[in-house]
Each structure stands twice: as C-alpha cells, then as structure tokens.
Symmetry: D2
Subunit: 394 residues, 4 copies
C-alpha cells in the first residue's frame, strides 16, 4: 500500500479484516507500506499491521512478491503510480478521486483496459457502493422494483467548514486539492447515483461557490482542521456545488433528471450522503448517517397500505451479510472490507470488477462538466465521453 494518510488507516482495516469474516479464494498478506517519511511510515506500519516499510514506491511495485498495489496517496500522484503498477503487471486498487484531471484519469483508464487483457485487474475506491443498504438499493432498482426511474436526488452534506474562523488547510487550496466539496464529496454522490440507478449522467447544469473566501492561515494541523495563525489566506476551491444532471435514458426509456448537492456548510449534517430515487412503481431512499437502513416504498401495494418502510439491512440474504447475526449493526469501515472481498474475488475469478477505472474516469468527466457549466453561467454542458472509451463497469 502506498500512502500513509487517513485513507491508509481505512484501507488497512479492510485488508486486516476481510478474510476474518468472508471466505476468500486467496488470503491477503499485508507486506509493504510505502511512505515518504521513514519514521512516520514505520509507525503507521506498526499501528496498521504491515510487515515492511519502504520509501521507494517504484522499487516496491517492481518486487515479484507483490501482487496488489493499493494507492492511497493524494490525487495528483495517482496516475503515475497506477500506470506504472499496471505496467508492472500488478493488480491496482486506487482510492478516489481517480486523478485530479480528466486527462490523467483517461490515461489511467486506458492503461487499466490494456492491463486487463494481460490479466491485471483494477478498481477505484468508491467504497460507499459497498454499504449493504446501497447495494441492496441497486439490487431493488435493477430488479425493476421501483419501475422506470423518474427522478434522482443526491446530496453529500457535511458541516466542518461552517466556522469562518476555521483555518486554511491544503484541502482549501485548489493548486493542491484540485477541487473542493465538488470533487471531494460530490464525487461520491455522483458515483452512488450512477451505481444505484445503473444510468450514466449525460449532461449537467451547475454552480460552484465559495462561501467563506478568506480564512486564517493554518498554524498547526489537527485532524482535518487545525489551529489558526494571525495572517489570512484565500480559499480557492468551492465550498458548495449545486447541479442538475440529465441521466442518459435506458433503452427506449426516459432520461431522468437528478438534483445534486455537495457542501461542507450544512450545519448539523456530519456525513449526510443521501440519495432518493423515484420510479414509476416505488422509490428507495438512503442516508449514510443511518447506513444500516434502507427506505423502500412499493407503490404496487394497496394504496391504503403504502409507505416508506425501513429495512434494517443486516438479514441473512442481504448483501455482505457475513458479519454478525441479524440486527447487529455495521459501521463506516466495513465497506473497506467489502472492497477487499470483491477485489480479491474478482482478481481470482478474472471477472469484471467495479467500479472500474472507466467508472472513475466518468465521474471525473461529470465533475469537469459541472465546473464548465458553472463557468458558463449554469448552461447545460454535456459530459464529454470519447466514443472510444470502454463503457463497461458500473
């Protein structure tokens, strides 16, 4: 695994835990943790359970005893590492966003397609797909239980920037972070909406905005935030993104509209990735803050008995039900184990793995189209899909 940040902890938990609860065709070995700072990396490796450390990712991916490369570095280094790892014949798991630019993401998707023909698999880390309730939502939708899709509402709302005196961090600097709320959390909303509906977004009309334009500089980092210095700096990323999407129609069907929101200023909403999909025969609704629950409305029942029902997604027969008896709740981290399960099974079976780099590229293109639309006063902009791009996955 390359990278030692917060995502490193989450991925490590997945690698450590998946085979303790799921029957896997191969058991992962947590061999090498790669980081820039040798001491930090060593400490992280001990905490997280990696056998060795290295500061040289190129040397590590060249090792013959390495089968899988898991990339959890910042987005600007994803393309170089992933393409090199795929070229070295490794299977690659790359944390989202796939890259900071569409060009890099496209190069990665091409490399992944080429590598697949040589037996090297790849996956991008949109783990919220693997919350059991989200997977169940997709299953119900694709089984036709809500009929033809008429509308989608998706939002990812947090509030950790609400305080205008919260200091600048690298996440608020476009040069380093690439994007703000849109790319960081809006990307999850886009991927989840496409996953659950099975539809691609074809065009978007949107607006980005920076609510607090100046903040104190960072004196010392603490968690996602830190302490404030006396001087002030300029926030160069978006605090909020609002956009309307037109999904591509299924064969012979309707192209539904979707509303999307990504914000870090929704006071009181801590991690509210929410989605509601309305169809001709019912609806589903999900909220990451209550991640063990799926709301399902079946409009084929008698009118006097209809209503959203709260399914506790912990029953035998539910997706990823290998953990505990029914009614025993899962948490945020379990998606990272599910990710490992699906990756290893896919590698061993040689089956298609989702979300593919092409899926990740598509999300980047949607993000790019939102930015273009925002720059063009909200005009609908098509999501640029090169005709030669493979469309599998999702």
């Amino acid at each position: 695994m390359i990278g030692t940040g917060f995502m490193g902890a989450a991925h490590s938990q997945g690698w450590r835990t998946a085979h303790r609860f799921f029957d896997l065709p191969a058991t992962p070995v947590m061999s090498v943790l790669v980081g820039r700072n040798p001491e930090t990396t060593l400490g992280a490796a001990q905490t997280w359970g990696w056998e060795e450390t290295s500061t040289d990712w190129r040397a590590t991916i060249a090792r013959e005893d390495i089968d899988i490369v898991d990339i959890v570095t910042p987005g600007d280094s994803h393309a170089e590492i992933a393409i090199a790892a795929l070229a070295a014949g490794k299977h690659v798991l790359c944390e989202k966003p796939l890259a900071n630019t569409v060009e890099e993401a496209a190069a990665m998707a091409s490399a992944a397609d080429a590598a697949q023909t040589r037996g090297a698999s790849s996956m991008v880390g949109f783990t919220y797909r693997r919350v059991p309730a989200a997977t169940l939502a997709r299953e119900l939708v694709l089984a036709g239980r809500i009929g033809e899709i008429r509308q989608v509402r998706a939002a990812y709302r947090q509030d950790w920037l609400s305080d205008p005196e919260g200091p600048m961090t690298w996440r608020l600097d476009k040069a380093r972070a690439g994007s703000g709320a849109l790319g960081d959390i809006g990307a999850h909303a886009i991927d989840l909406a496409e996953f659950i509906t099975g539809l691609r977004i074809g065009a978007v009309s949107g607006v980005l905005d920076t609510i607090v334009k100046e903040r104190p500089l960072l004196a010392e980092g603490v968690g996602l935030g830190g302490t404030a210095a006396a001087d002030r700096g300029t926030v160069t990323v978006d605090d909020v993104a609002l956009f309307t999407a037109r999904f591509e129609a299924p064969a012979g069907g309707y192209s539904p509209l979707g509303s999307f929101e990504a914000t870090r200023f929704a006071s009181g909403r801590k991690n509210a990735l929410t989605i509601e999909v309305s169809g001709s025969l019912g609806a589903i609704a999900f909220d990451l803050e209550r991640l063990n629950e799926l709301q399902f409305h079946d409009a084929t029942l008698p009118a006097t008995e209809q209503g959203f029902r709260t399914i506790l997604v912990t029953e035998p027969g539910h997706p990823y039900a290998a953990w505990w008896p029914a009614g025993h709740m899962l948490g945020y981290e379990h998606g990272f184990s599910h990710q490992v399960v699906d990756l290893i099974r896919g590698i061993v079976d040689g089956a298609p793995i989702h979300p593919s780099f092409t899926d990740g590229l598509h999300v980047q293109r949607v993000l790019d189209a939102v930015e273009r639309s925002s720059n063009e006063d909200g005009r609908f902009c098509a999501v640029d899909v090169r005709p030669d791009t493979p469309r599998h996955g999702n």
Copy 2:
C-alpha cells in the same frame, strides 16, 4: 367569497373557525358565496355555512355591506376580480397564484398599493407561512439564531401523477393551468423560502420537464384525478421543475444559494413541502408531512451536545398557540384560520399585511425566470424586478 372549488372549502373552514379560538377585533360574517352555477353554489354555501349565494361577482363586490372579498377562483380570473374589488374599496384576500402572468400580477400589485393608501388591505393566500412551525422557523432565523444564512434547500414533492395511465385533467393543460408543478406547488416552496429567510431570490438557473408526455383523456373527473377515456392527449405543462436560486444578500452579507424542486412524481411523498436553511450558527428544517414539528440545530452549544432537536410547536409562546393544550396537534386546515386572524387584525389595525400582492408578484417573477432559464438551456436568469415596484412585505 368568490369561487366554489377545493380552496373554497379550506377558506370557509378558516372563516368559520378563526373567531372561535382567537380574539379578533372584528368577527367575520360569512355573507355571500359567488359561483357560476347557481345550484352548485347553493349547495356549497349550505355545506360551508354562507348566508347567501350569487352568480354575479360584480354585483356582489358592489354591495355596501361587503367589506372583504375572498377570491378562490382559478388563476386566470384573479386579476380582473381583485382589481375591481380593490377599486370598489374592498379588502381583498386572493388565493395563490396571484395571477397566471407576471403582467397581471404586476397590475394587481399596483392596484393593491394604490388601494392601501385608501385604506383597503390585500393579502395573497400562501397559507403555509402560517403553519406555526414555519412561522417559528422564521422567528428563529430572523432572530439570528442560525447566524448568517449559507444555504437553502426547498422542495415540494407529491406523487399523484406517478401513474402514467392517470388521465389528463385541466391541471395538465398549459392553456388552462398556466403552469404545472412549478406554478402549482413550486410557488409555495419559493414563498416559504423567502418568508423564512427574509431574503428575495435574485436569479435562477433551472430546468422544467414533462415526464409522461401523453395520457388518456379524462372520461369523468373524480377528486384531483378521474377515470380514463380511450383517446390520449398531450401533457403541456411541466411534471417536474428543478432550479438553483441565488438569493439577494442581506446588507453587507453573503448571497446564499438555494436548491429547489417541485414535482408530482416523487413516489411515496404525498405532500412533502420541505425546507432546510443552513447558517453559520445552526440550521432549521421543516417538513409539511410532519407539520407540528420544527427541527432546530444550535451550533453554539458544546460540540458533544449538538444535534437537530425536534420542537413540537404546540407550546404556549409558540406562534398561533390559541387552539389546544401543549402537545395537541394541528392539521392542514389551521393555516386558513391563521390567515383570517392575520388579515382581520391587519385590516383593523391598518398594519402591513403579509404576504402582500407585491410578495405574490415576486413569486410570479421567480417562476417566470425559471421558465426563461429552462428555455435558455439552464443559464442563470435574473428575476425581473422593476425598480419602481414597492418591496415591502415579506
């Protein structure tokens, strides 16, 4: 009262009931009900409790013993009746939408302003402002309890058109209804957002869509729907409207964005007029399907004790708390009594009454701007506000 439809029943309930629970400076007398069909009108008058009936609204508004004219006819007749009634020196309550066109609404607002100088008051019937929880939301927001407003989310979602075989009604014919979901229910979301925030919408970027484009013609009307005939007709109004609004900034402040949705295809949502306002110090959230409750998040409390709290808005000290002891719930119809209370008190006191015709005109202008934006591919369109229009109210 002029008009005998569903809104006639609701307004009558307000007129019959308000003085039974509130101390009013004058007691309304339900004198004349005006309708086109004498028999229908007589039946309605008996059911609702009106003393007399008439088929001649002009004669009725000319009567000296009439002080207040309540207009609950379809929107295309509002302007003519309201302007005539104001000219006759009557106080006028006009059901929303104020009119079917901006031009008519502007004429009505001018007439109302002129009449006000002669002591004739006017009010437009956005009764959802008068749900106690909505009024409490405004009170908290205007008292600064959520700080500076950063974002607004408003939606009005119903599902009574979900069935594609539901027949055409006049509400789906643009020539008669003027507008679809946008004007019918989106107008409520706009008014409620402006009421609670105290801010005007200055520009919008939106899209309208018709999901089911052809429906069976109506054989016989039943309720809001009816039975289907063999032939089919074309739906000419919007089924769904999605738009992003830029509110005007308060003095020296930020211009927040708002997302808006109006739809009749949200399967399982029966009457979900929802709004959430996020501020720098907290947030409020409201849902008409749980109209006795207001969600309030106070971000000035210690971080470990924060959370949305559910205020049951039935306590002494809450708005319109004249009905029953604390904890005894109110329903949809109570807003119509509150409307009567505020109208009569305003008339007797000579105090400004909200929402004014100017408020209603503003909502029409927002609707108009959304339609323009939708016709211009989603481009942001300014809400056209003539500089000479009075801006009081709200």
Copy 3:
C-alpha cells in the same frame, strides 16, 4: 351540552364541524349550553356557537326539542346527569372517564342498556379511537394482518408535572379528581389497546406512585397549571402508573401480555399516547404525537424486504377520509368530529355505537384492578366483570 371546560371547546368544535365535511343523516343543531355560572356560560356559548344557555341541566334535559345530551362536566357528576338524561329518553354522549367509581359506572352501563331497548343510544368519549391511524390499526389487526396477537405495549406519557414547583391543582387532589395519571390518561391507553386488539384485559399487576409528594398551593389557575402560593399542599393522586395486563384470549388462542404506562413526568414527551401490537405475522405501532402516521410491519413479505413502513393515513379509502386531499394532515380536534359522525349515524341507523357505556365501565374496572394490585404489592388482580354485564361494544 352540559359543561363549559376545555372538553366543551373540543366537543363544540366537533358539533360545529362534522356536517361540513361528512354526509350525515341528520344535521346537529347546537341548541343549549348548560353551565353553573351564567356569565361564563354565555361567553362560552358565544365563543363556541351555542344558541341558548341555561344553568339548569335538569330543565334542559326535560325539553322536548333536545335529542342529544353531551356531558362534559367533571367525572363526579356524570352518573347523575347521564342516568337522568337516558331516563328522559335522550341519546347521551358522555366524556371519559365514564364515572369516578366503578359503582357509578356500572349503574350508568345498566341505564344505557335499558335505554337502548327504548331507542336511546349512548357513547363514551374515548375520541382517540377515532384518530384515522388508530382505526386503521384496528382494521389491520382484526383483518388478521398481524396474525395472532403476542404482545401489546401501550403508554401515555406527558411531562407537565415535571417541575416540582408547579403548584397544586384540583387534578392532584384525589378527593376531587378521583385518580391521577392512571385515570386521566392511562384510561385512554387501556381503551385504545382494547379497541385495536379487540381483546379485553382480564387481570393486571401494577404499581402507582407519587413522585412529587408536596407542591406549592395554587395562587391563581392558568391553563392546566397556575401560579404558586407560599404554602404547600400534599399531592394525593398518582403521578405515574405502571402495570402489566393479561388480555383474555380469543377463542382457542393465546392470552397476550401487555405493558402499560401512564405518567405526567416523562420529560420531553408532550402527548405521547403510543401503542405497539406484535403478532405472529407482523406488527403495528402508533404515536399520537405523529397522529397522521401508522407504522405497519408485514412479516409475510420476503425477509430481505421487511421493515416498519410509515403509512400516511390520509388516503382515500382510509378511515374518516372526508376532509382534504391525500397528504393533507389532520389534528387533535378531528376525532371530535368523527365522534359526532359515528354518534349521529348510529342514532339514526339504530346500530350499536362504540365505545358503549359498557366499554367505559370495563375501563373503570381495569383502573380499579390496577389500584387494588398496587395496594397488594403488585399481585395480579382480576378485572372484576359481573357475569350479567353485557359484553357488546368494543
């Protein structure tokens, strides 16, 4: 109507309103309001819409133009008035509790049975049965939708006595109120549980307690409470009642247990009359604080799709659906109109009316058994049902 207190306002709203929304075989005329104080009674009559007033209930019930006597006086006068009215051939609606003692209630039930043979109907005012969601709950249960009943949980929780410095009122004096939380609100929980399940309680094990044993005397009454005087008095009624009930088994079936709670010290619960009934095939749950909603769990659905669903009980086809379009909420007071509807229909049709005085008597007997059990250290006590008492109703 005899009585001018809070219940008078609620009953008046029902009498004034029912025929405005429901087709009734006879239209009620609000003729005489009877009270002790002529001025107070006149004021109430004007506020509530009664044509005449009187201070002599005996003279009033003797009038030939009076068909129905509605008794909303304190419980200690119910028996005398009701028995006299029934003897005079009047139909009688009597507010709950039917009486302050089992003996009086038994006399009333006998009088009602005798009067019924002469064509005079009677009803006791447990209006929460007539919340549409509660009626729907009964319909689902009696239709077998939750299978055999296994358990019942019922509670009525309020918090208006939480403050130990809240002053004494007559409601806290056993000599005047007869009972505390048990009789005042526990009676509703008992009736609702028996109504929804269709089962009678046969035995109870319970405990009563007075949490705050001394309070300031009342200086001046305000609402249900008032201002405090310097001296203190002793609370002689129960503040909280907890009991376990054994229901009588349906033919060939199981005798389910039920847990009951009545309290005025549940801080934050304003009017939480809640009930959950668990069966072999599902469950229903209701909360008066969200009175438009019924929770229904259907355990015959596939296990992966089960969950409590929230039915908004405002659809056509739902009980008492004569008010507004689907999704438009009802409130506390609507039950009083439904009571009038069922009473008048029952009188005109000569059909059995529920809840009968026998139902009311049974509730009194359950209350009595709870008190006895509390006095006997919680031992199960049988609900004393004389074999000669008619068991119809419910």
Copy 4:
C-alpha cells in the same frame, strides 16, 4: 480465550483491533484459543487470528506466559473456569451472564474480590455499556444534566422466535440455557439501566411467559435457528419477560420506578435494546438499532425551543472517539474493542474496572428476583443483596 462460539468471533475482533486505534499501555497478544473439538478450534483460531490452540483449559490457564483469560463458553462453565483462572493469578474477562445461578455468581464475585487484592482484575462482558452513545448517556445523567431521575424505561426486543414453526434449539431448553429472554437479553437491559442511571434495582414485580409452548425439534442447526424435524418438543424457558423495578434511591432522593421488557416475539424489532431515562431537568433516550445516536432533551432551555435532539456520537470529545473523523459511523463490534481498551488500561493502571463481577452478580440477583416474583403472582420481591457483598463497581 476459552470458547469458540459466536462470542468468540466478537471478542477476537476486539482483541485484534483495539490497539490499532487506541493508545494502549500494553499490546495484547492473541496466544491460545481453547476449545473442545481440536479441528473446530484450529479452524476458529486461524479465522480469528490466534497463535495456538488447546483443548485443555486447565493447562492453558496454568501457563506462565498467559496474563489474561477471556471466557466465552456457555454460562454453566463460567464459574469453574473463572475461579480457577483467578486463583492462578490471571486477569479474567468473562462473557455475560456471569453464571447460570446466583450461587455460582456469588462465588465468582467473592473470588474476584479476593483476587483483586492480589492484583488480578476481572470484568464481565456487558459490552453495550461501551457503545459510545450509552457511555455518553451515563455521563450526561451523572453530570446532573437531566436532574433527579424520575422514571426509567428499558426494553430489549427481538423477533427471531416469532415463527411458531421455528425449531427448538438449546436456547429454549431451561436445563441447558438456564433462562430464556429474561437472562439472555433482559440482563443487558438491566445492566444498561443500572449503568446509565448509576442506581441499583432494589425490588421487582414481574411476569414471565412462554408464548409458543411446543416447537418442532431441531433437525440441523443453522445460525441461531435451524431446520425442523417431524417431532415436537416443549419450550421450557420464557419467551417474554415483563417487570417493573424499584431502583434504590440516591442519597436523600427519590426511588424511581422502571419498566422492563425482554422479548423475542416483537415482530419487526431485530435488536432493539432501548432505554429512556426521564429526569427533573430533561431526559435521554437510546436505541441500539441506531447505536450512533443519542436522544437528549434539555428541559432547562426555553420552553419554546425544547425538544429531543439527535446527537451523533462520533465527535471528538465523545467517548471512545479514536476511530474515524466525525460523522463516520461505528457498529456492533466496536464495543468489544472498547472492552479490551478499558480492561487493559484498568489492569495496567490497577484502577477499578467495570462492570465488575459484583455488578454481574447483581444482575443475576435481579433476574432471580424477577423469576421469584413471577412465581409469586407478580408480587414485588426484593433483590437479595447480602450485606457482606462489596458494592463497588457500576
């Protein structure tokens, strides 16, 4: 660790994970897993991550390199193993119930007290105390935030026995399981109520019942249930337990009542361990099915702003906040890591550890008193507390 059942998996997850997220003064080594069947035990050890296996618990606890003995066997073997392990100078973690009889539990508590003086710590595994929201509830209550405690409502409701054709398992056989719903899940409700309130239960009035008295014999076990054989057997444990508890008063204070329910027949409730504590200044409410949330009502706020607020217990500053950023949810299993954290810290610090064996003994005594009361027709029975029993802990 001794035992290889479901609790073995949960405890192993705790031992494997705690030091990955928490700073511990000592890092646990998962050395020996002891079970009866060598092959099953070896398989479990590999799955769960134990270094060695053994079939001889006596030999294992005699090993010098073993510091902590974790007992997750059925309740009838707890006493023998725990007392031996304490005698051997080991620290002991014992899964609940502490024992199947009060006598055994008392012997264990005495042994634990004696061992403590020699430096050997002990803890009983009521992990739900260590759900962060439950710990926060205790903190708020003990800090006086809800004032004097007036009432407690606790319930543990599951539904996995609802189907009368579900087969017999050892859990339904009193000879093997000792108790039914009362001991299995009611024990959790008792412990949680005593933990959150800081009060002991002094007397109880209760009833036990077996709803389905005969079931098909078990053909083959699957999960908690299994497939049915043709013959039928008799259920000898309780399916449901309802009881009322009188808590002991705090110094100079009130002895509050509590209502308790334990059932496996609450159709639709999967794992609903719920508790609400009402006080003179507010209330808290918790539901294990939404374990990341705590409901808190602060009655010292202005009356018009009061309501239960939903605290998402994932903020820095909340109990056990070492896992993920705010808003990232925890699940069932995290309590087992928290248990390891507190045990190891307690051992190293030599500080009192809760819940102590004395706490576990007390829960057994409450269970015993409920059974006695049920056998005595619901009469209140004192919880038998020998005066010489240490009362520390909790």
